[in-house]
Chain length 722, copies 2
């Protein structure tokens, strides 16, 4: 890629970014869009009963002019507010940006003010000709331009050591900061159901008797002093289907009722009188109401049946009188047979993933293996697709594939757009389809909580991203070359040192394109479009429940970490990428703070359990950088530097080992000290009586709750039936 | 190796084995050798005060004739008796032999009656000439002789599937059997100190106050209902040095006193009267007595000093009132800082490795890393030595190295002994020097119990054995070729398929040689020699304490498992090895049963924790066999079989995963169910009062015990001082 192509890409994306920002600042002020751009605000207002005033704001000329007030608000948001509104997970999410901004500020300064000049002053690639900068390859700014065996390479060597030290220092501090936050967040928390509850699976039933009785007997026998109550999980998959049907019918009914009668008549019944009569007779509203009525009755009958004598699943939520009681029961194996009475901490009630419970432990082990194989296949299939996309950066190849485009491709702008912009856009689009699939895979693995599912999906997405975006592109997309690399570990440094720099231009373009994609997060394009298409024809009920979306960490975190990986691996090779990455993180920081404040509400709180993933990925990126650096010094005929880099990955891995020993246990379980202190704090609290009462019923399958029976708005719906 | 050389080796070793058996059956009946061949019997008799009758048995002609009575006794020993005398670890140790005997009986039948005929009927290697069997290479019986692409290879294919299924079936049963045994052993056990005690490390002292007070405060605060008492560990390394000195002096003193006066005079004082007088004045007995007296005084003073105000180490044994109390404290993290209040189950008091306690947690992590590196270096150094030994199997090479031997080597017997016997003998000797070194390494890793040290050393020895004996020999000893192999994983099957069969003769010879080495375990050659050299000149005090040796699992188990590995890897390639391996396990079974009965007394009881190591190694051997089989089918131009073997390693690993999930938790901790049941059983027992009293003092550093002060026999020694 030449400099002018890069500038084109930067220009285009800057333009898009500014446009999107402007668009957002206008759209967000339109009252009709409140449910998209500030659902949290709207929901809060609804609760305070002034939602109407919010949506019915007066028209004002200011409202259609772009403004930057929201940027200021997002910038000023303090960490305490963030913690209160989005939980510790939200804080951790924003800390990723803070961490990356810190890393790449320092890396950027070293890269731009030391490495880029050093690279540019070399003359491995070209003669010294300072004129005609726009037509020069951006490789001139990369390490490829430094002369072989040149002593200037020691700048790069020192840079590797300096940045590694700095990042390890930051990683340690950040891990410490977040684990302290986790503990203090726990210490400041109100009594929470999940702290008092454990989940027991693999309950053995011997010689008759119900599961409920077996659980009762077991815990009364062995934990009589701390045991409070239990809820056995019941088979509700059939019931869930029924409820789903009812909800679908209800949704269609509301839609029908909201469409004005006239348009309905015009659409379907503009015929003879007989036709019209038949139409009235079969008025869909009445039809659907009847159907819904029947379904509801069914659900209610079936619910009581299940509650009374439904099939019990050998799993139960067991509640304890104290946090310490629950924790000490989780941590000790209950039975001599490790497949029986398997205990684990219960998730928050809102976080439980109910459909899972029908699977047994053996099924879970098998499906884990199947999912593992399926994930690998998914990566391989994606690689085949990516191979095609990657081919687009080579114009000549494109001309061979699609010869009829030859003339079009000769136009400079078109070719620049295609080489600089199209491939990365396609990759962005394609990879956005993967997270839901990975989440589905994780769901199949039998996790009991949504948070666990997302955490597992996050790990899968990370592997996917690293293999399908990074390695697929540096190894020019072929599956075989990736497998080849894995099977020839000793050649990895040399191989990477050749192929990674070759893709510098592609990844610079990729980073630049990402500005647009992160800004489009702001405008919520998909949500906006669906809102626009449903809005004009249906008069939305003003008191309908607002759908507050939650941020999907499993797709966002890997995407952000990919840029960290790119920045670190290209730090030595092509430092020109760093300022663009810095801009990405800057945009992301502001945008996601705004989104967490206004749009996303937390669906669960893992207490910062996503941070260890971030930590480990950063360590992986560092080691990958070291490996590539070893290779590049070998290529550049500076074997001494190549061997002197060797201690760096080893020290980094030892540092990681230390951090994991020091901090990761904090993310697995709370300490006895903390638990007992919290328990004592509550001991004399008058609220605990209420809390225990609620605890007993907290873990009930939502499918069995009568209130929920016809979907999201029983309150509106019931009058219709009566 | 030709058949006659193999027969020579078999003949030689059979002869040695029979000789050693005969020698043992004679030697064991000599009263003077009782302390070597039946120390357990002697110790038991001493306790019952009839040791004198045992040692002073009348001379009888039967006593100097070989007999097989001991074989019968060893054969008849029931598992209950073994459990009573050697603990569960002894039972597990013998189960390894039982397991291997079962595996190799079936493997042997398949190998000898199916595979050997199939191999011999091929004609890849030679023309069909059934005469002159003795001069034929034993390769004729190996898979190398089967024609390329022959359908007869499907026999080998089926054999691989059959034996894998059979072994997995056995492994599952054995794991189940031993884990059941472990639980029932626990349920039948008397109250044991270690079940009630935990070890706490990393005790933080903030703002003055002793460690003892901190521990007391912490456990009284958080575990007031179950906490009983605690013992803080004190720095006693200096004291231990003093005690060591005193013991050395005492040993020398006893030796001097036991040597008859006359020989002493003859040796040193046959001079003038003045000389004689000076000699009397400096009588070493008196001198050493004085020195010992002084040392003892020192020890006593220093002991009271340490007990009063000695430097405390931030580690303590904390005793609880119940097993469940101790277990629930171990399993939960105590502090928000995972490096503080680190808990782990306490080992048995006799099992504690006291010198360790001076190291902090960080030191332990660092030394773990150092030990890891050192172990790898040890393997590499050993490989260099092994390379030389391996060279001996190639006579031509030996002639090049040592040209002066040329004439000697031409004698048939000499060359047969050298190629068939010497290399393996040298390897046996060399590798016997490694276990103490590995144990030292494990000691440095900061384990708190001798059993843990031996378990860790066992793992290290396994790696060592597999790399230095197996891989070093198949890859003809060079370090670089081993590293090469690791770095080229995709070529492993093909490489192994070439090199492993090539070493079949060496390993057959190795197995045959092992008969002698396992029989020499019976005669305890080293102990016998040292006994013979000390016996004639010193009249051993009849009431001196008998030194009951303990079996060192960390050197024995890997050695046995190596033969399992050899048998499995050569099962397909050279089934001729199987009967020899079967003989080895048969000998081992009888010999070790005898030794456990008479010689070795258990130093600790891990409750069968060595079994998972055996299980995992067997799985490793199986997968290695599969990999080699894949390679060999490739070489033999039967790619279909090669790919159809592929599911086998995957299924085996999945089976292993299942077994680990199903059984290994049982070996990590006892279940709440079992603990609470045991606690309830003891609740009303009158003995518990006594037990608690003893518990409080059970974990005292032996260096601080007054009784122990002048070594092993305070009772004899004290009168001398008074």
């Amino acid at each position: 890629m030449i400099v002018s192509a890069l500038l084109t890409a930067v220009g285009l994306n800057l333009l898009f970014t500014v446009l999107l920002f402007a668009l957002y600042s206008i759209l967000r002020k339109l009252p009709g869009n409140l449910s998209i751009y500030a659902p949290r605000l709207l929901a809060a207002a609804r609760q305070a009963d002034d939602g109407e005033t919010l949506t019915r704001a007066h028209f004002n000329i200011d409202n259609i002019l772009p403004s930057v007030g929201w940027v200021r608000a997002a910038w000023r948001l303090s960490e305490e507010d963030l913690l209160a509104s989005s939980g510790l997970d939200g804080v951790v999410f924003i800390r990723i940006f803070v961490f990356c901004l810190r890393v790449f500020s320092v890396a950027g300064i070293i890269g731009i003010f030391v490495l880029v000049p050093v690279n540019y002053l070399g003359d491995q690639l070209s003669i010294d000709d300072f004129s005609d900068l726009p037509n020069k390859s951006i490789d001139l700014f990369s390490i490829s331009n430094v002369d072989n065996g040149s002593n200037r390479l020691w700048f790069h060597f020192s840079a590797a050591y300096i940045i590694t030290t700095f990042i390890c220092y930051l990683l340690y501090n950040e891990y410490k900061y977040i684990s302290d936050k986790r503990v203090s967040h726990f210490m400041a928390s109100k009594p929470m159901h999940n702290h008092f509850t454990i989940l027991v699976r693999g309950i053995p039933v011997r010689g008759g008797g119900s599961i409920s009785n077996t659980v009762e007997r077991f815990f009364m026998d062995y934990y009589s002093s701390t045991y409070l109550s239990h809820v056995v999980v019941r088979q509700t998959s059939k019931l869930r289907h029924l409820i789903n049907d009812a909800e679908n019918v209800y949704r269609r009914l509301t839609h029908l009722k909201s469409v004005p009668r006239t348009s309905q008549n015009v659409g379907s019944g503009a015929g003879t009188g007989g036709f019209f009569r038949r139409f009235v007779k079969k008025d869909p509203v009445i039809l659907y109401s009847k159907k819904l009525e029947g379904l509801e009755e069914n659900v209610r009958l079936y619910q009581s049946e299940v509650t009374m004598a439904g099939e019990e699943i050998p799993a139960a939520f067991v509640c304890f009188k104290s946090r310490f009681g629950a924790a000490s029961c989780v941590n000790i194996p209950q039975s001599d047979n490790p497949t029986e009475w398997v205990t684990e901490p219960a998730p928050e009630p809102r976080d439980v993933y109910w459909p899972f419970f029908s699977t047994s432990l053996t099924q879970i082990w098998i499906s884990k293996f199947i999912v593992f194989v399926a994930s690998i296949f998914l990566i391989i299939i994606f690689l085949l697709v990516a191979a095609f996309v990657q081919g687009l950066t080579y114009l000549e190849q494109l001309e061979i594939w699609l010869p009829f485009l030859k003339n079009v491709l000769k136009i400079a702008v078109v070719s620049q757009v295609i080489t600089g912009y199209l491939p990365s856009l396609l990759l962005h689009l394609l990879s956005s389809q993967i997270p839901p699939l990975m989440k589905l895979f994780s769901t199949m693995q039998g996790y009991i909580a949504n948070s666990e599912i997302e955490k597992s999906a996050c790990g899968k997405m990370l592997w996917f991203t690293i293999w399908s975006i990074f390695f697929a592109n540096v190894l020019t997309g072929s599956v075989t070359s990736q497998i080849q690399m894995l099977l020839d570990p000793k050649d990895i440094p040399a191989l990477l040192a050749v192929v990674v720099p070759a893709q510098a231009s592609f990844f610079i373009a990729y980073v630049v394109t990402s500005w647009t994609s992160v800004s489009s997060e702001l405008t919520q394009t998909m949500a906006l479009l669906s809102h626009l298409f449903t809005c004009p024809c249906s008069k939305k009920a003003s008191n309908e429940k607002i759908n507050e979306p939650s941020i999907s960490y499993h797709s966002e975190i890997p995407r952000i970490l990919l840029f960290g990986l790119l920045g670190l691996t290209y730090f030595i090779l092509a430092p020109l990428i760093l300022p663009f990455i810095l801009v990405y993180f800057g945009l992301g920081y502001i945008i996601y703070r705004n989104q967490l404040l206004n749009v996303y509400s937390p669906k669960y709180d893992t207490g910062g359990k996503f941070w260890p993933i971030v930590h480990n990925t950063t360590i992986f990126s560092l080691v990958l950088m070291h490996i590539i650096t070893i290779g590049i010094f070998g290529l550049k005929k500076l074997p001494l530097a190549s061997s002197l880099i060797l201690p760096l990955p080893i020290l980094t891995l030892l540092f990681n080992e230390y951090c994991n020993k020091r901090f990761s246990p904090i993310f697995r379980a709370y300490s006895a000290e903390a638990l007992i202190k919290k328990d004592r704090g509550d001991e004399n609290s008058p609220e605990m009586r209420d809390f225990y009462e609620k605890l007993v019923t907290a873990y009930r399958d939502p499918a069995l709750m009568p209130l929920n029976c016809s979907g999201t708005s029983n309150d509106r719906h019931s009058p219709l039936l009566s």
